[in-house]
């Protein structure tokens, strides 16, 4: 059942959404540090670091899922339901963020300014609440201990990538 199309599609989508979020977290960890006006390369490196931290921290997750199912402590449908619930919250949020980023990058500067002022800034501020909301919805829908353990871990990872990248690579030098 782990390999049925809906299950694979759900997990894959969640992985893509989480990866994008991790990349942006890495980018945010580096932003506003070095004062350069041309920093595209630095932005890409920071995003890659966010992805690396994400990849490292979620590496045990497939094993956790497998062991919980094999041990009878959770069912595949529990994990799929939890992932689906998180996506129900994260995908709309992510689509709005992506749309705002496209507007910022492509449209006239006045529209880009509005995209930042009305959407990107407030959505970044709201991001921790969104992360918790997705996990909370999944927690309410799925009553399985390993899944709930995974949900807590997911929120910790989501919210921890930016500070972890900041501390590892972007701490200011002591004068």
């Amino acid at each position: 059942m782990l390999t049925t199309l809906p299950a694979v599609a759900t997990f894959a989508t969640l992985f893509v959404v989480a990866s994008l979020d991790a990349a942006f977290s890495g980018f945010r960890a580096s932003a506003g540090r070095d004062g350069l006006v041309r920093h595209r390369r630095q932005d890409l490196v920071a995003s890659a670091r966010g992805l690396m931290v994400f990849g490292t921290t979620v590496a045990p997750l497939p094993a956790l899922v497998y062991m919980s199912v094999a041990g009878g402590e959770a069912r595949v449908v529990d994990w799929v339901a939890a992932a689906g619930a998180m996506l129900a919250v994260y995908v709309p949020y992510g689509l709005v963020v992506l749309a705002a980023l496209v507007a910022f990058a492509v449209l006239p500067w006045q529209v880009g300014y509005l995209a930042t002022a009305i959407l990107l800034g407030p959505l970044t501020f709201a991001r921790p609440l969104v992360a918790v909301a997705g996990a909370l919805l999944a927690w309410i829908l799925v009553d399985a201990v390993p899944v709930r353990f995974g949900l807590v871990g997911a929120v910790v990872v989501i919210l921890g990538i930016e500070p972890a990248v900041g501390r590892r690579w972007y701490l200011p030098a002591s004068p």
Binding site: G32, W109, Q110, G112, A117, P175
Partner: protein, 271 residues
């Protein structure tokens, strides 16, 4: 300083300052203060980038430069000698983000020299270093830009700008600030600053919480909105200090939603 802040009711500021490193005699360690100043301004630059400040500046300066070039052409045609290049001076430039961003794109034209001025030698030194690292054609000077001889050599070919400076001046100093432009014969000026109001207060709080890491940045950012001058007061100060300057309509185009426009220019053009 901590006691002075507490005595003036600034408890939060007192807490922030009390956590800064000190040397013997309870004196703030200047190396840490300087480093903090650079970090704070780097964070401010991040906000400026996201809010597309350099594009906003360019959009306002473009027609002013067209006018300036036209005046220079007319003067040249009538036999007057006209100094080149034109010059844009950014007063209180901090790390010189606007100057460097414009220099990176040569956006105002190759005939415009870009100069940033600040009273803080540490920030000016860092601005110079950053410009050098990125190979940008921009100059940075320590001093008061509106003192004669610092940055404005020939006012007739000079635009003076600032971003986020005016709220650092007390209200009774504003007429004198604008008067200095008239004394120097500056061709035009554009000074962007925060617009006081609920939108600016809420927006500032949200953005500083979402983007700023330093406690000083968060605290001062929100104070800046509270210190911002009413646009009407700025206009009165301009009319009083620089009465020969015309005030063009800077209300913006159809994209501009004034409800979320928290940064507006005070513009004057020499008549």
């Amino acid at each position: 300083m901590v006691e002075r802040l507490r005595a003036s009711g600034q408890e939060r500021a007192a807490r922030i300052v009390s956590r800064l490193p000190v040397t013997e005699g309870d004196v703030l360690d200047i190396r840490h203060v300087d480093a903090l100043g650079i970090r704070v301004h780097a964070e401010l630059q991040r906000l400026a980038e996201e809010l597309l400040l350099w594009r906003r500046v360019r959009a306002t300066l473009a027609p002013l430069l067209v006018d300036l070039r036209h005046r220079a052409s007319v003067a040249a045609a009538s036999g007057e000698s006209v100094a080149r290049p034109l010059r844009m001076v950014d007063v209180g430039c901090g790390l010189g983000y606007v100057v460097r961003a414009l220099a990176a794109r040569v956006d105002l034209g190759a005939d415009v020299e870009l100069v940033g001025v600040d009273l803080n030698p540490v920030l000016v030194g860092e601005a110079r270093r950053l410009a050098q690292v990125e190979g940008l054609a921009a100059r940075f000077v320590v001093g008061d830009a509106l003192d004669p001889g610092v940055a404005v050599d020939d006012g007739a070919i000079t635009l003076v700008i600032s971003t986020g400076l005016l709220h650092h001046l007390p209200a009774d100093a504003l007429p004198g600030f604008f008067a200095a432009h008239e004394r120097l014969g500056v061709a035009a000026f554009a000074h962007w600053d925060l617009v006081p109001g609920r939108v600016a207060r809420v927006g500032s709080w949200v953005f500083h919480r979402a983007r700023m890491r330093e406690p000083v940045s968060r605290h001062d950012g929100n104070l800046s909105v509270r210190r911002a001058h009413d646009p009407g007061l700025l206009r009165e100060a301009l009319e009083s200090g620089a009465p020969t300057y015309e005030i063009p309509d800077a209300s913006g185009d159809r994209w501009q939603l004034r409800a979320v426009e928290v940064l507006r220019p005070t513009v004057g053009v020499r008549g």
